[in-house]
Symmetry: C2
């Protein structure tokens, strides 16, 4: 399947569409209008129609979009119809919390290996996963054909972990450490960085705060 | 201070610029070129020049940008020169991990209150914060002039927590729960949702995987 290049903003909205569409499918709803989607996701219906038209999907006037068809289409675009294994380094609070999301990561995508540098954590069970030592990272990632690496270690360790993921051949890295990492250009890095998220959100707070209260 | 409306993509890049610029400032680096910024942040220098020109900031040819001035400017745009208090609901693994980021949240922005519905957690200390019961949320958020609410509760509880944040008067919500929440339109919601981040990243993995290996 080939799709046209989709903008980052659209790629970020697709999983949200998918989540809501999955909810609808579970309730046996067959069709949905861009108005309904917009109301629920707090988006402009025109924006939604434009997003869906990107990959050749057009709603029928007065009827809307076919929920099941849209789910399949978006899953295909996001590659959720493939098995995507994920490995995580850093079994602290954040790492453990992320492993708990495995329950929501249906669609063949799931964390399949966890590593930590702390000898006291090796062998600990997080959900069904046993924490492995760092020395086993490259071999395990290769053997399991892991495609995404997650970094939840302190900032000072992030680059070292990224280097090992690169050596092991991952295609994408999600970095939760508050540090900028350097990897070869063919590897996609997403910064799921809490401080950056919070600072972005701050931009949108009431702009009036610096002026006098009205 | 008034700034032109900045696109979401730029707003997401500003905190990354700021982080790197702060690193430079700490090392007493006075000026930086868009090439250096681009190399370090894996961005196109032309993109960076365009971003910075957005708010009237132009580098000097052959010299680059003044690091200190740029730091002040970006902090102003992101409102990091104001005090921004943040409250968090859900003192589980994820909530605890986020509280640990307080160390990185200099710039007057920090988590100042933590709440949980579980009676066994009330009074627990996370960093310097004592976990409070949900009944105290509205009063505490109002008293402390909290502007951002963070939700790290199970999906089924997310809307209820959002409603309380809205009642208490927050201006922005960062929702980590894998659920879509509904709030009045003047309140900004960011979804810092791990499953959505991971699904967005999957889109960028090697497109060749579905074809035969070469």
């Amino acid at each position: 399947m080939k799709f046209p290049k989709i903008s980052e903003a659209v790629v970020r909205r697709l999983p949200m569409y998918l989540r809501f569409l999955n909810e609808l499918a579970k309730s046996d709803v067959q069709t949905v209008s861009s108005q309904d989607l917009g109301r629920r996701l707090d988006l402009n219906p025109a924006q939604i129609r434009k997003d869906l038209a990107y990959f050749g999907e057009f709603g029928k006037k007065g009827i809307g979009y076919d929920v099941g068809y849209l789910v399949e289409k978006i899953r295909g675009i996001l590659k959720l119809d493939q098995e995507i294994r994920v490995a995580l380094v850093g079994a602290g609070n954040l790492g453990q919390a992320l492993c708990n999301y495995n329950a929501y990561l249906k669609d063949n995508m799931r964390i399949s290996a966890v590593f930590d540098a702390n000898p006291n954590r090796i062998g600990d069970r997080i959900n069904q996963l046993s924490v492995q030592p760092m020395e086993e990272l490259v071999r395990t990632v290769r053997e399991q054909h892991v495609r995404i690496g997650i970094i939840t270690v302190p900032a000072t360790e992030a680059q070292r972990v990224a280097d090992q993921f690169v050596e092991a051949g991952v295609e994408g890295i999600m970095n939760f450490a508050p540090a900028i990492i350097k990897v070869p250009s063919q590897i996609r890095v997403h910064y799921a960085d809490f401080t950056i998220e919070l600072q972005s959100l701050a931009y949108y707070l009431n702009r009036g705060e610096t002026e006098e209260e009205e």
